[in-house]
């Protein structure tokens, strides 16, 4: 354990909105000192919120210990505790919020609530050095094209139904694929898609700057179950179609906003094919392209810690009695006082 500098200040962030329980520690000048994560992997099916929450409660103290060990920071050196207030799954969010409240009141330091989607954007900016990007945020729960304007991250495009990560996960489950902690469903589909060659016709649904993915999912599952084509080809077709739709709306938003930076963030940002597509449109519009590093692409505590620093140093503090979780806290509703 290293001794940290005497005057350095730290924020500890807790993330628990879905299947990952994460604890991160960031200095006030944006050095990520710890990013400990424990993922809940359901034995079968999707994430059951209550089961995931039970997992989070079980691993919370271990993950906290790991973060303190990794950073060399002692609990008493912390200045503020940040936590994901929403959006996400209720029982999961509540578990993380309970841990955060307990820590803050025990250490007698302030608590700061963080919007999960904002944190994905902020960690991307921190890690890539982008200043004011158009962001494509794609994960299991969200599919959003947003850019900052007048105090908020404004949503230009989003999914009209299911999220991109959700679409890939459900497809993988429905066609009988299996995931491992080291190889989530998205990565399994990506790997299979790499050897696919034949592009099958699947519904391509772009509406303005929004996309619809549920029809695509249904069609891809049906196509696979018919058993007439190789699974690799279906994975390839699903990815190509879904990513083309997302890239098209990203390009629309890019042309509309005229931004010169494009940031890809969220769990699905790790997908190399999606990266290459978004990179291609960024280049075409002479915008810089950046993608968040994989360890910060998935849900993690570090992004909450860093966004906690931004919020706290711009006057945000959350009273315990106002710290109830917000399951449906839209990105656009969160105030961003540190921008401008």
């Amino acid at each position: 354990m290293t001794n940290r500098k005497a005057k350095e200040r730290y924020c500890l962030g807790i993330e628990s909105s879905a299947d990952d329980f994460g604890v991160g520690i960031s200095t006030f000048d944006g050095k990520i000192l710890a990013n400990a994560i424990d993922a809940y992997v359901p034995p079968e099916g999707g994430i059951h919120p209550r089961e995931a929450a039970r997992h989070h409660a079980e691993v919370a103290s271990e993950v906290l210990d790991a973060a303190f060990a990794e950073s060399g920071v002692e609990p008493r050196n912390l200045s503020v505790i940040a936590f994901t207030q929403g959006p996400g799954l209720g029982p999961c969010l509540r578990t993380g919020a309970t841990v955060a409240r307990a820590l803050a009141s025990h250490l007698k330091i302030p608590l700061v609530r963080i919007n999960h989607c904002v944190a994905h954007v902020e960690i991307g900016k921190l890690e890539t050095g982008t200043k004011n990007p158009l962001t494509l945020y794609v994960s299991g729960g969200n599919t959003i094209v947003a850019a900052f304007d007048a105090g908020r991250y404004r949503i230009f495009g989003e999914t009209l139904d299911i999220a991109l990560g959700n679409c890939l996960d459900v497809f993988a489950r429905e066609v009988g694929l299996h995931q491992k902690p080291s190889l989530p469903f998205g990565a399994v589909v990506e790997k299979l898609a790499q050897t696919g060659k034949q592009l099958m016709k699947l519904p391509y649904t772009v509406k303005g700057m929004d996309v619809s993915l549920s029809g695509l999912l249904t069609a891809a599952v049906a196509l696979s179950k018919k058993g007439e084509c190789k699974l690799e080809d279906v994975c390839y077709s699903l990815q190509e179609t879904a990513f083309s739709m997302l890239t098209e709306v990203t390009e629309r938003a890019l042309a509309h906003t005229g931004r010169d930076e494009v940031l890809l963030t969220g769990g699905v940002a790790a997908n190399k094919r999606l990266q290459s597509m978004i990179k291609s449109v960024a280049r075409e519009h002479t915008a810089r392209f950046d993608v968040v590093p994989t360890r910060f692409a998935i849900d993690n505590g570090a992004m909450i810690a860093w966004t906690g620093v931004l919020a706290y140093t711009h006057g945000a503090v959350t009273a315990i009695e106002k710290s109830q979780v917000r399951l449906r806290w839209r990105l656009e509703e969160a105030e961003i006082p540190w921008m401008q």
């Binding site: 969200n142 949503i155 999220a163 509406k207 303005g208 190509e240 890019l254 291609s280 075409e284």
Partner: protein
């Protein structure tokens, strides 16, 4: 035709200023997108090149101004159409007075009502796709994502997209503008139809993830 000059590099197509036998024209060329597979790319571009002028023609029959089509070349995924001299509604909304804004949006709502009644949804109702000529007529552009349908769902999505586009680009007066547009819309369509469409918009919003309003139904 003289050498066309690029006037806008859009997301989908490049727009060039051209001369069409002495008339000022816009050449809209849908360029190949390197990011998507060739087969899918061609399919999308050819479909939209053929589809867009058809819908523009239909829109005129519905009484909604759209540019005159001069040429459709689906092999080169190019459309040549009239150049509409005027100002984008995107700009106008920020420049005019409150009452002018309201009547502009009312008028736009009326036009959308006419489109929907005739069986057309526009598919991309942003304020950059609307141009007002100096005499006041508002022209509708960019029908590439439109559809011929009278389905309630399609109409709801069409207006939902417009609301969202207003919220992201004109957040200061998005609600006011959308309200005026709906007034105009309901002056064309039967009040029962408008009611159903508004109800549909609510339903579409609730479908979206993390919308607080969904809570009422939980």
């Amino acid at each position: 035709m003289k050498q066309p000059v690029l006037i806008k590099k859009g997301a989908e197509a490049n727009l060039y200023l051209a001369d069409w036998h002495g008339r000022k024209a816009v050449l809209k060329k849908r360029l190949p997108k390197e990011y998507r597979p060739k087969f899918l790319d061609e399919q999308i571009r050819v479909y939209r090149t053929i589809h867009e002028p058809q819908l523009m023609h239909e829109a005129k029959k519905a009484g909604v101004p759209t540019p005159v089509i001069f040429l459709v070349d689906h092999k080169n995924t190019t459309i040549v159409m009239e150049y509409v001299e005027g100002k984008q509604v995107k700009q106008l909304l920020n420049e005019v007075s409150e009452s002018q804004r309201q009547s502009l949006c009312f008028g736009i709502g009326e036009m959308i009502g006419r489109l929907h009644e005739y069986g057309i949804v526009h598919g991309d109702l942003t304020t950059s796709n609307l141009i007002q000529r100096s005499e006041g007529k508002v022209f509708f552009l960019d029908f590439g994502l439109g559809d011929k349908t009278k389905e309630l769902e399609a109409r709801g999505v069409d207006l939902h997209l417009m609301k969202r586009a207003l919220q992201s680009t004109h957040y200061e007066f998005a609600d006011e503008c959308f309200g005026s547009a709906i007034e105009g819309y309901s002056s064309v369509l039967k009040s029962e139809t408008t009611g159903n469409v508004l109800h549909k918009i609510k339903e579409i919003e609730r479908r979206g993830r993390y919308v607080a309003e969904r809570k009422e139904k939980d």
